[in-house]
Amino acid sequence: MNTLVNLGGIVMKNPVTTASGTFGFGLEYQTYVNLQRLGAITVKGTTLKPRLGNPPPRIAETPSGMLNAIGLQNPGVERVAEEIMPQLAALGVPVIINIAGDTLEDYAQVARRLDGVTGVAGLEVNISCPNVKKGGIQFGSDPFTASEVTRAVKSATELPVIVKLSPNVTDLVVMAEAVAGAGADALSMINTLVGIAIDVDRRRPVLGNITGGLSGPAIRPVAVRAVWQVHRAMPLIPILGMGGIMTARDALEFILAGATAVAVGTGNFVNPRATLDVVEGIEHYMKEHSFNEISELVGLAQRDINKE
């Protein structure tokens, strides 16, 4: 049985990684998870300068989901490269670093700094950040700015670049085409949906930041649809699928819809062993249904569906 996948140049021994921001730098979960069993570790959003993040409360629970407004708290790319990467590199597992910024130049600088750092196997570009120069409009909601960010990052690094798409758009395929056209090696989807929870007793939003990002099982159908649509339109670009994965069956929904690899996010909070349970469950499924190559499963649910 072969579970090896190639995610746009990042070679993973199995298709399972972690969703950025939900697994810290991996080390936080070492007590529960043998990190070396993971296909890759995707770490939290890293910016040029350290960031303190948003005022609390930063999370709110919603039915089968949660809202978060962490606000990209992180120690900055310098400390990630100098202090954290050496520890992670020692594990021998590919590390994907999620990067973010307020300007194109921010993204490019972070990417440049990480180029060649031992252990870094690829970058995941979070384009759901407001573009300060363009009046707060998100890079991720406009195909042109999204392609600009992609180009800026690509030209700053030799590393494989995954662009992470936001589901909060009218047409995800347009976004996918734009960033693929600008050189993205892979796509990851989905980032969180924008949501609000109101505290009915205090008559104000629960979160300090008012809006937050909705994640968890609640959004899974939206995420699977995103993967399906993009894989259908662009079958050749590898997709890292995520959104509400708790079990191997959830992960298989994404793979059957067209994802080459999957990431476990909020699921880690519920079951700290979720990543390994997914790895083992996929292996079990392949054995049970006699699949030798994980690639046979990718997009399989679309096979008998007529092209419109």
Binding site: G21, T22, F23, G24, E28, Y29, T31, Y32, K44, L52, G53, P56, P57, R58, I59, A60, E61, P63, S64, G65, M66, N68, I70, Q73, G216, P217, A218, M246, T266, N268, F269, V270, N271, P272, R273
Partner: protein, 269 residues
């Protein structure tokens, strides 16, 4: 070290109005736990409620491998938990940084230090474990326990604490037991004499007042705070608590790993 484990529920009793005590057979937890630490509990097998619920360790019996939690039913998760009378509970723990249980040596005084332990409402829950440890260390005489509650009916742990040999002061909002007023008034009295250290857990307004009093009196202490948590292990960065660092600069710390117990002077209210 923290573990993910299925702990057997050996008992579950309502001990106050909407307050339950659940007993778990969890030897590894009993061995490793320090007062002030918590466990992170999965409430149900389905995805609503989704996140684990943090609950402090209330009592530990190392020889029998038993651990107790005491919780107030306030919503979905605690309602579910109060309904569990047997079976296995999915818990992570022990988690967090607990109280520093002081001995004479630690405070640098030759004599046994004079300590005050202050609990408000359900905040009394983790203090019982602290008092178990202080009793084991044999300095019950030098510890005063102050407990506040809405009314007599809502008073928690006072009888059990007396049984451990501690002297207990009680305050209620309506005067139905002990002093009529906030428990911090009782602390003010204690602060008249020299005090080495104060431990506290309770609602935020109480802790805020208490930290102000300690700062004014120049008495060190520790408080246990509550923040909303997702992961419980320092990975999600949700449970931030605003603190002053050594240089007096304000920054965020994470209640799940840097706390829930913080130095009283550290917390910015």
């Amino acid at each position: 070290m923290s573990q993910l484990l299925k702990a057997e529920i050996t008992d579950c009793q309502e001990t106050g109005p909407g307050v339950w005590v659940t007993e778990l057979l969890a030897p590894s937890l009993a061995q490793a736990a320090v007062p002030g630490q918590f466990i992170h509990i999965r409430c149900g097998e389905d995805s609503d409620p989704l996140l684990r619920r943090p609950i402090s360790i209330h009592a530990v019996y190392r020889r029998s491998g038993l651990v107790k939690i005491m919780f107030q039913v306030v919503g979905q998760g605690t309602t579910w938990l109060a309904g569990r009378r047997d079976g296995l509970l999915d818990v992570m723990g022990p988690l967090g940084r607990g109280f520093t249980t002081l001995t004479g040596e630690q405070t640098g005084t030759a004599a046994v230090p004079r300590l005050v332990v202050v609990g408000g409402g359900i905040g009394a829950a983790p203090l019982y474990f602290l008092l178990q440890e202080l009793a084991r260390a044999g300095n019950a005489q030098q510890v005063k326990v102050l407990l506040g509650a809405r009314n007599a009916e809502h008073l928690l742990i006072h009888n059990a604490v007396k049984l451990l040999g501690f002297s207990v002061g009680v305050a209620t909002d309506d005067g139905s037991a002990g002093y009529h007023g906030p428990v911090t008034d009782l602390l003010a009295e204690e602060l008249q004499l020299k005090l080495d250290y104060v431990y506290a857990c309770g609602p935020a307004p109480m802790l805020k007042t208490l930290c102000g009093m300690l700062q004014y009196a120049g008495v060190p202490g520790e408080v246990s705070v509550e923040e909303r948590m997702a992961c419980g292990v320092g990975a999600c960065l949700s449970c931030v608590c605003r603190v002053k660092d050594a240089g007096g600069m304000e920054t965020y710390r994470h209640a799940c790993v840097d706390g829930p117990v913080f130095a009283a002077g550290e917390v910015v209210w």
